[in-house]
Point group: C2
Chain length 236, copies 2
DNA sequence: ATGTGATTTGTACTATCGTACAAGAAATCA
DNA sequence: TGATTTCTTGTACGATAGTACAAATCACAT
C-alpha cells in the first residue's frame, strides 16, 4: 500500500541525526578528519556509535552529508550578495561589496544552521589542508563556479589588472580567510591582547579592507617572469 | 673504555635516519599527521617500522625532530634578511624588502636541506589546521619571536597604521602563504592554466606585491567597531 | 680478525579503528 | 490496539594503529 511516501529526507526524528552532524562538524573542524573517531562523534552527540552507521553508513558519508548540508545555502547566499554588489555604481565601492559578498557568508551562516558558517568554513580549511579526498571532489564541483564568478566580477571592476593576478589575489583571500578561522588566537597573541582574533566582525572588516587594497595593487609585469627584482641577499 | 664519545648527534650512518625524516616530512605535509602511519613512513623511506622507533622513539618524537631540524635555520635566515631589509632607505622599498624577508625563506630552504623550505612550511600549515599539540607548542615558542620582529619592523615603516591592523594583515599574509603551498593546483585551475600555482617564484612575487598593498591600505577606524559600513543585504 | 657498540629486522602485543548486524525500543498509521 | 516501519542499542569482528623487544646484522677500532 503506497501512502505518503514518508520521504527519506523528512525523517521522523531528526534530533539525533542533527546532533551527530553538529558534533561531527565541530570535531572535524577542530581536530581534522582522521584524528576524530566515529566513537568520539557519537559520544559528543550523546548517541550510540551504531547510530552513526545507521544514519550515514560510513564516516565518509557523514562528511559528505555535512558538505551537502552547507554548500547549497552558502553559495546561494554568496550569489545573492554578489548580484547586489554588482549593482553598486561606484567602482571602488563595488569592489568592496564584491569582496564582502565573498567573505561574509563564510563567517556567518547562509542557512538557518546556528553559527554554522564559520564552523563549516573552518572545516573546509582543515579538510583542504589534509588533502581529504571526499572534500576535494565536492569542492571542485561546488565552489569552483562560485570562485570563477567572483574572479570575473572582480576583474570587471578592475579591468586593467590581468585575470591571472586576480586569481592569485583571490586565492590569497581564501587562504587568509581560512587561516583566520583556524587560528584566531594567534591574532590575539601577536597583538598582545589588543585585538580579538575570534571576533568575526573585526575579522571581516580587516580582511575586506586589506583584500580590497591587495586587489587594487598595480599589476605584475609578466614580461620577464624570472628575477623581476633583485632579492636582498637571496639565492632563490 | 672511553674512546671518542661518538656523539649521539653524529651517528655513523645518518642515511636511514635522514631518509625517515624526509619521508615523514613529505607524508605529513601532504596528508596530515594522523592519516599517516609509522608503517607508511617506514615503507616510503625503505626502512623497517622498528627503525622509526629506534631513532625517534615515538611518532610525536619524529614530528618534533622535523621541527627542530628546520626552525632554527629558517628563522636565522629570516632574521638575516630582515636585518638587511631594515637598512633599505626608501620606505616603500623597505616595506617590500621586509615582506620578502618573511616570505622567501618559507618557500626556499634556509638550510642545506634540498627544497625543504616549502615542504616544511606546508607541513606547518597542515599541523596548524589540524590543531596538532606538538606543533602548537613549538610554534608558540619559536615563531612568535619572529612574527613580533616582523610586525614591529613593518610598523616602523608604516607608523600611521595601528599595530593591531599590522597584526591582522600579517596574519592574513601567513594564511595566504600557507594556502598557496597547500593547494597550488587551485590557482592553476581558477586561472584556466594561465598561471602555475606550483611555481614558487610566481607565488612569491604575487604574494609580496599583494601583501605590500594590503599593508599600505588605510587604517581601519576603531571608533565604531560594530557595523562601520552598511552591509549589502546582510544580517550579520 | 674480532669484539663491541650502533643499527636494522622481524615479530608480537595491546588498543582502537570503521563497520556490520541482530535485538530491543519507539513511533506511526490502519 | 496491533502491525509495521523507524530508530537506537549493544556487541562483535577483522584490520590496523603505535610501540616494545629480542635477535640478527653491520661498521669500525683495536
Amino acid at each position: 500500500m503506497v501512502r505518503k511516501p514518508t520521504s527519506k529526507e523528512t525523517a521522523r526524528k531528526p534530533n539525533m541525526r542533527e546532533a551527530i552532524l553538529a558534533a561531527a562538524e565541530e570535531l572535524f573542524a577542530t581536530n581534522g578528519f582522521n584524528a576524530v573517531s566515529v566513537r568520539d562523534i557519537a559520544q559528543a552527540a550523546g548517541a550510540n556509535p551504531g547510530s552513526v552507521t545507521y544514519h550515514f553508513k560510513t564516516k565518509d558519508g557523514l562528511l559528505l552529508e555535512i558538505y551537502r548540508r552547507h554548500c547549497g545555502p552558502m553559495n546561494l547566499r554568496r550569489f545573492e550578495l554578489l548580484a547586489a554588489a554588482k549593482r553598486v555604481r561606484d567602482l571602488q565601492d563595488r569592489l568592496e561589496a564584491i569582496v564582502r559578498a565573498y567573505v561574509v557568508p563564510a563567517f556567518t551562516s547562509g542557512s538557518d544552521l546556528a553559527g554554522g558558517g564559520a564552523r563549516f568554513t573552518r572545516l573546509r580549511a582543515v579538510m583542504s589542508a589534509e588533502g581529504n579526498e571526499v572534500a576535494r571532489k565536492i569542492i571542485a564541483q561546488t565552489f569552483d563556479d562560485t570562485s570563477h564568478a567572483f574572479v570575473d566580477a572582480i576583474h570587471e571592476s578592475l579591468p586593467h589588472i590581468p585575470r591571472t593576478d586576480i586569481v592569485w589575489r583571490s586565492h590569497f583571500l581564501l587562504g587568509a580567510l581560512y587561516y583566520s578561522l583556524v587560528t584566531p588566537d594567534r591574532v590575539s597573541r601577536l597583538s598582545r591582547g589588543e585585538a580579538d582574533g575570534g571576533d568575526a566582525a573585526s575579522a571581516i572588516e580587516q580582511l575586506v579592507q586589506a583584500t580590497v587594497a591587495a586587489f587594487q595593487a598595480p599589476p605584475l609585469d609578466h614580461v620577464a617572469p624570472a628575477r623581476r627584482r633583485p632579492v636582498v641577499g637571496s639565492k632563490i
